[in-house]
């Protein structure tokens, strides 16, 4: 299948914990056939609902890190003075790099007069291709305290595209990360549609507006749905009005329903249970497919 026939939907939220993953898993089942991509590589949860069986596992190498060979360090401190990331400290007669703070910029490695700094490639996590009951899935886990989550998201998306082309599946559904920073930008650029799942709170509205502005910045069409809308119907109306005026399609509301947690406990998508929230998600899915 050529790339022009493939559509890609990303589910975002701005604010975390609004129900992205529960909606994505439900879409995966309703789509019948799609490639799934978990782009929330920081705290990936989609696998808890779709119970993938891992078929391939790959180390994610990205960037480099600077490491001082203590025996060769004269303690001159040039590295420390040139580091913009405050990652180098003096320890006794030598300098030491905090691997967590190191940005991997190579400045110290270049400047060290003793050539006492190594600059090896850094393992930042792993990515996997798996099979699930609703199609192939590409997912990843970023290492604890690791960098480059944006690049790992890009890797996950590239692999999802490769699977879609290879298996002739015309739809990719990805579970996006929260926020508006580098992993979100990496998951958003060039997609066919971004669906933003929000909640009827002051924070939900504020964060929605920032993520919609980001999508506009990258010329990505947007749609919005409000989860747990009945917690605050007034705020729901306000959010839908704000979404419309920002040019986003309003696709529906999901009621507050404890079945969502029940579904998690049973490792199922909420549409696999007999639940009101599942019915609401079906309505939204129909709208979304029309927009795609």
């Amino acid at each position: 299948m050529s790339k022009e026939h493939i559509r890609e939907l990303v589910v975002l939220s701005g604010k975390g914990g609004t129900g992205k993953t529960s909606v994505t898993a439900s879409f995966a089942l309703l789509a019948n056939k799609a490639v799934l991509a978990d782009c929330d590589v920081d705290a990936a949860d989609l696998h808890l609902l779709l119970t993938p069986i891992v078929e391939q596992r790959h180390a994610f190498m990205s960037g480099h890190e600077a490491v001082i060979r203590q025996q060769d360090c004269s303690g001159c401190g040039i590295c420390m003075d040139s580091c913009r990331f405050d990652a180098i400290r003096r320890e006794g007669a030598v300098c030491r790099i905090d691997p967590v703070a190191c940005e991997g910029c190579s400045v110290c490695y270049r400047l060290c007069p003793d050539k006492a700094i190594d600059f090896p490639e850094r393992v930042c996590g792993e990515w996997m291709v798996s099979g699930t009951r609703c199609g192939p899935m590409v997912h990843a886990q970023l290492g604890v305290a690791a960098e480059n989550s944006g690049k790992l998201v890009t890797t996950v998306r590239e692999q999802a595209w490769a699977v879609a082309v290879d298996k002739r599946i015309p739809l990719i559904i990805s579970d996006g990360p929260p926020g508006i920073g580098c992993p979100v930008i990496a998951s958003l650029s060039g997609v066919s549609l971004a669906l933003v799942v929000t909640e009827p709170t002051v924070s939900g509205l504020h964060d929605l507006q920032r993520v919609l502005a980001l999508a506009r910045h990258f010329s990505v069409p947007t749609a919005v749905c409000v989860n747990k809308w009945d917690i605050n119907p007034q705020q729901t109306e306000k959010i839908e009005a704000a979404a419309r005026s920002a040019g986003a399609a309003v696709t529906g509301r999901i009621r507050y329903d404890r079945s969502v947690t029940q579904a998690q406990l049973q490792q199922k998508a909420v549409v696999e249970l007999d639940a009101g929230a599942g019915d609401d998600i079906r309505v939204i899915w129909k709208q979304v497919t029309e927009l795609l």
């Binding site: 703070a101 929260p178 926020g179 002051v202 605050n232």
Partner: protein, 293 residues
């Protein structure tokens, strides 16, 4: 860790792994019931929400900038030394001239250092804003990433730079476990992890605990929307020796008050009491772990 700071300048970070577990709710209500003046640093700079609840008037913003190179076309001979050094593709040499991509630059300054003709000078590039305000006993420092900018840690570092050295601080962290969270937790004395008793909540709590261990930070847990523990959260905390500092019940009233932008501790007095107790417990934990009080 915080040896350079004065006594009583201890820092408590509130984080979670999973988003939407109630970090902001806990950080805000804890600050409101702290029992003494406190600083609240909103380090969730991608989506800062604290001031939606505090509604400080005097939030005078100032810019956060990062140094990004500019090319002097007169001096650049297109040798490519800058692009060879840059690890982030923020500068590349195309034909006879270097080209800068500010959105990819990490501001390390390396390109200007290696440029043999002095064609690169660094200039401030706006990546966000910092605002400081006061609401009752709370001094709020808010960081706000500019929409479209991908580099988050420098804005968080700018928030931390505004912290006063003689007042305790609560840091409201972003979700996740990667560089923005690490930038927040640096130089903290104690970590409060907020979770809920769901499979997602427990899974992401484990990631956050792994991060705390990596950073050598003592931590305790706040359980939000606590109901029946169907996932074994309590036995996990016991096995990991994590104190449960507070359990907030799954009460629809909390969700409603919070949805309006009001503080639970002030709107519902029984919860005010619970947050005062949380403040007391945290000070005990800090004494136990050597962070101060």
């Amino acid at each position: 860790m915080a040896a350079a700071r004065k006594q009583n300048s201890y820092r408590i970070a509130v984080a979670s792994g999973k988003g939407g577990t109630g970090k902001t709710t806990v950080a805000l209500n804890l600050a409101a019931m702290f029992g003494e003046p406190v600083q609240l640093a909103d380090c969730d700079v991608e989506e800062p929400n604290d001031n939606l609840f505090l509604r400080c008037e005097q939030l005078t913003p100032h810019e956060v900038t990062m140094l990004v190179p500019e090319v002097d076309p007169q001096r650049c001979n297109g040798c490519g030394a800058c692009g060879e050094l840059c690890q982030f593709r923020g500068i590349v040499s195309l034909g006879s001239r270097a080209l800068v991509f500010p959105e990819l630059c990490h501001g390390c300054g390396g390109c200007a250092l290696v440029c043999p003709t002095g064609a690169l000078t660094e200039h401030p590039h706006r990546i966000g804003t910092i605002s400081v305000g006061q609401s009752g006993t709370i001094r709020l420092i808010e960081g706000r990433l500019e929409v479209g900018v991908s580099l988050v840690p420098p804005v968080i570092r700018a928030v931390r730079d505004q912290l006063l050295d003689d007042v305790p601080a609560i840091l409201d962290a972003p979700p996740g476990t990667s560089c923005p969270v690490v930038a927040t937790l640096r130089e903290s004395d104690y970590l409060v992890l907020v979770t809920d008793p769901t499979p997602f909540g427990l899974h992401d709590l484990k990631l956050a605990v792994a991060l705390a261990k990596e950073l050598g930070l003592p931590c305790g847990v706040v359980v939000n929307r606590a109901g029946e523990d169907l996932v074994g959260l309590h036995s996990y905390c016991q096995a990991e020796n994590l104190p449960i500092l507070l359990s907030l019940p799954d009460d629809r009233q909390i969700a409603e008050v919070t949805s309006r932008g009001d503080l639970v501790a002030l709107a519902l007095p029984e919860y005010g009491l619970m947050f005062s107790e949380l403040a007391t417990k945290l000070k005990h934990e800090l004494a136990k772990t050597g962070g101060t009080p």
